[in-house]
């Protein structure tokens, strides 16, 4: 493995890890944050027929998880190509 390729791969890996960290922060906030730690204050807010904290714990967190994976999968395909590490 040449030095250049190593650097390119390092940049790819760094971008990947950054994306993962941002995603996991959101993952944490919607489930552990909104669904558990902040559930009482959020329950003071009405969301249709739901209390908001309760809605996040039983519905909202799951929808956000889905969006997170979809965005990751799409972003990574672009990142693979950008760094020339996509599958040929």
């Amino acid at each position: 493995m040449s030095g250049n390729e190593g650097n390119a791969n390092d940049a790819y890996w760094k971008a990947n890890v950054t994306h993962i960290i941002v995603s996991l922060v959101i993952w944490f906030v919607v489930s552990y944050g909104f669904g558990i730690l902040l559930v009482d204050p959020l329950n003071a807010i009405e969301f249709g027929g739901f209390k908001l904290g309760f809605w996040f714990a039983q519905q909202g967190a799951i929808y956000v998880f889905l969006i997170l994976i979809a965005v990751y999968a799409i972003r990574m395909n672009a990142l693979d190509r950008h760094h020339g590490v996509d599958e040929q």
């Binding site: 493995m1 790819y12 993962i20 558990i36 739901f50 998880f65 994976i69 990751y72 999968a73």
Partner: protein, 587 residues
């Protein structure tokens, strides 16, 4: 034979014909096909297969009932059993797919250049998968005996026979395509009654929306009304929980991380053609799972409302506010016959009182009303199965639910049996005991292993060891505290070495297992009373895997720091699995 029974036989029979047909069509002819379906599964098909693999008899039959009685407290299962897919998609699946071998212990053994590490991983895998599979066979037996009115043993043998045919013949390939079919059956069976009930109760056919809608003909929201009636009866508000915040937190961590660490789930991502398919496939898997998991809490709330509303016909405390036992609906009579629903007229008024008699503050009121204790006990497992009857849906819906319950149990059982057999034939025999065997012999070993595993699972399903009810905590706790951390560190750190990984796995395993055994007792009597005052940091045995996971990380990093770092070729291996493209250096 009555119409319902005929329809049920028809629905279940047709689904079996379908599964066996798929098995014959997809016979495995190489170890690659047997272990990982030749790595040729389309990501959407794999998403469905993963969803069926993942959603067990417990998800299908028990979860909505559990949520109905726990209310907000049931959220740990909803978030815990879905959030793990985010971890899988980003932290494990793509890199393990790039690595491209057959089993989870194989990766651990190679990455940590150690047969010992591989063996420890196999032991964890077999233990996790067997505890899990016993529950599935039990589920098959229950559905058979309730809907087809055969005894438990006959039900079990039929279920085992079906799994035997398609798992032994088709291996992973057969299992994958049957799981796709099973997913379709189970999701249809779950959502159809839910749509009908949502429609009846709120006028909105989409359960996820009906859940937050007004009850038909009133301007009261379903959840507000539910909170009102359950608190009137001495229960806690439906949207409030009884678990402490730290315990909710720990259980959710243990379930999420446990999900991501379950071998039968991870291995599904070995079956897709490319790394990018592993990522998208995790997304499709969660999409298909979410179809059930976002409906389940709606079903739970609606079922709790319907149940309470059926029994509490008038104002709480008024003399004629409760259902007269003799006038109870048909479905209650049917489920009474199974013993899963029971009535005892404690105050002798011929009416059913259903309230929380464990609430000391409510006792005075209850005495005022002339109530003498709760008179109705409902097993939480019957709610989903009884749902179509409660909502007076046509018989074909009930038959469909029976086929769905069986599909859920069989698909999970097959996936588990496959990882057990590949752990035995590939990791134990080919990898350790008899490395020289040919591919043909290995394939035969795999088929024999799966056959034996089915027999053991069937036995465990028929004679469940006393701890079956407690094994969920075990399986998830162990997956979270042993396998997940070492796989993660194996990908994201180049520095964690053989010594660190083995020490980490063992300490996570021993700590978690020890804690659960101490409080719940498995082969021994519990040593300490399983009450919140006695728990470490207020964390229940269900959530202790979260602590075991942290311990595993700490031990692994510390030990790796003070021992020799991994050899150069291992560091290259780690670099290689991080990028999707296959480079010439890796070949």
């Amino acid at each position: 034979m009555d119409e319902l029974k005929l329809l049920t036989y028809l629905a279940v029979g047709l689904s079996f014909v379908l599964y066996i047909g798929i098995a014959v069509w997809s016979k495995a002819s190489s170890t690659g096909e047997f272990y990982v379906a030749g790595k040729g599964v389309h990501p959407i098909a794999n998403g469905m297969a993963t969803a069926a693999d993942w959603m067990s008899a417990a998800s299908f039959i028990s979860m909505a009932g559990l949520i109905a009685f726990l209310g907000y407290g049931g959220s740990v299962y909803l978030m815990g059993w879905t959030g793990g897919y985010v971890l899988l998609a980003m932290l494990l699946a793509p890199y393990l797919r790039k690595y491209g071998k057959f089993t989870v212990p194989e990766f651990i053994g190679d990455r940590y250049y150690s047969k010992t590490a591989r063996l420890v991983a196999v032991v964890c895998l077999i233990f996790i998968s067997f505890t899990y599979v016993a529950g599935q066979m039990r589920g098959v037996g229950i559905v058979f005996s309730r809907f087809l009115e055969v005894d438990l043993l006959t039900g079990l043998i039929i279920g085992m026979g079906i799994v035997f045919i398609y798992a032994v013949l088709g291996g992973m390939k057969g299992i994958t395509y049957t799981q796709v079919a099973q997913y379709c059956v189970l999701i249809l069976a779950y959502t159809v009654p839910a749509v009908f009930i949502a429609m009846q109760l709120t006028g909105n056919p989409i359960p996820q929306i009906a859940f937050g809608s007004q009850i038909e003909g009133t301007n009261t929201y379903l959840l507000d009304r539910l909170n009102q009636i359950v608190t009137d009866l001495g229960f806690i508000e439906y949207t409030e929980g009884s678990k402490s915040t730290i315990d909710m937190f720990a259980i959710t961590v243990a379930l999420m991380v446990g999900t991501a660490g379950l071998p039968h789930v991870i291995v599904r991502f070995f079956t897709v053609p490319r790394v990018r398919d592993a990522r998208s496939s995790a997304g499709f898997a969660l999409l298909f799972i979410a179809l059930l998991y976002t409906v389940a809490p709606a079903v739970g709330a609606m079922a709790r409302y319907n149940l309470t509303d059926t029994v509490q016909t008038g104002a709480v405390g008024s003399p004629d506010g409760n259902l007269v036992y003799e006038e109870r609906p048909e479905w209650m009579k049917r489920w009474e016959a199974t013993g899963l629903l029971a009535f005892e007229d404690k105050n002798g008024d011929g009416r059913i009182q259903y309230y929380n008699d464990a609430n000391p503050e409510f006792q005075e009121k209850a005495a005022e009303y002339g109530w003498d204790g709760n008179e109705l006990t409902v097993d939480r497992d019957i709610l989903v199965l009884a749902n179509p009857e409660i909502a007076q849906l046509p018989n074909w819906v009930i038959a469909l639910v029976a086929a769905g319950g069986i599909a859920a149990a069989l698909s999970t059982a097959a996936g588990l049996l496959l990882v057990i057999s590949s752990g035995i034939s590939h990791d134990l025999f080919k990898g350790t005991i008899t490395p020289g065997i040919s591919e043909k012999t290995e394939l035969m070993t795999g088929r024999i292993a799966i056959g034996v595993a089915i027999l053991v699972a069937g036995y465990l399903g028929y004679n469940p060891p006393g701890f079956v009810a407690q094994v969920v905590a075990f399986a998830f706790g162990l997956a979270a505290s042993s396998l997940f951390p070492v796989i993660l560190m194996g990908i994201f750190s180049k520095k964690v070495n053989r010594e660190g990984a083995i020490a980490g796995m063992l300490s996570g395993l021993v700590f978690t297992m020890g804690y659960i055994v101490l409080y719940k007792g498995v082969f021994i009597e519990p040593v300490i009373d399983n009450v919140p005052e006695n728990w470490f940091l207020g964390i229940s045995p269900e959530g202790i895997g979260a602590v075991g996971m942290v311990l595993n990380f700490i031990v692994a990093f510390t030990v790796s720091k003070i021992t020799r770092e991994p050899p150069e070729h291992i560091q290259h291996l780690v670099e290689d699995i991080r990028t999707p493209r296959v480079t010439s250096a890796a070949e």
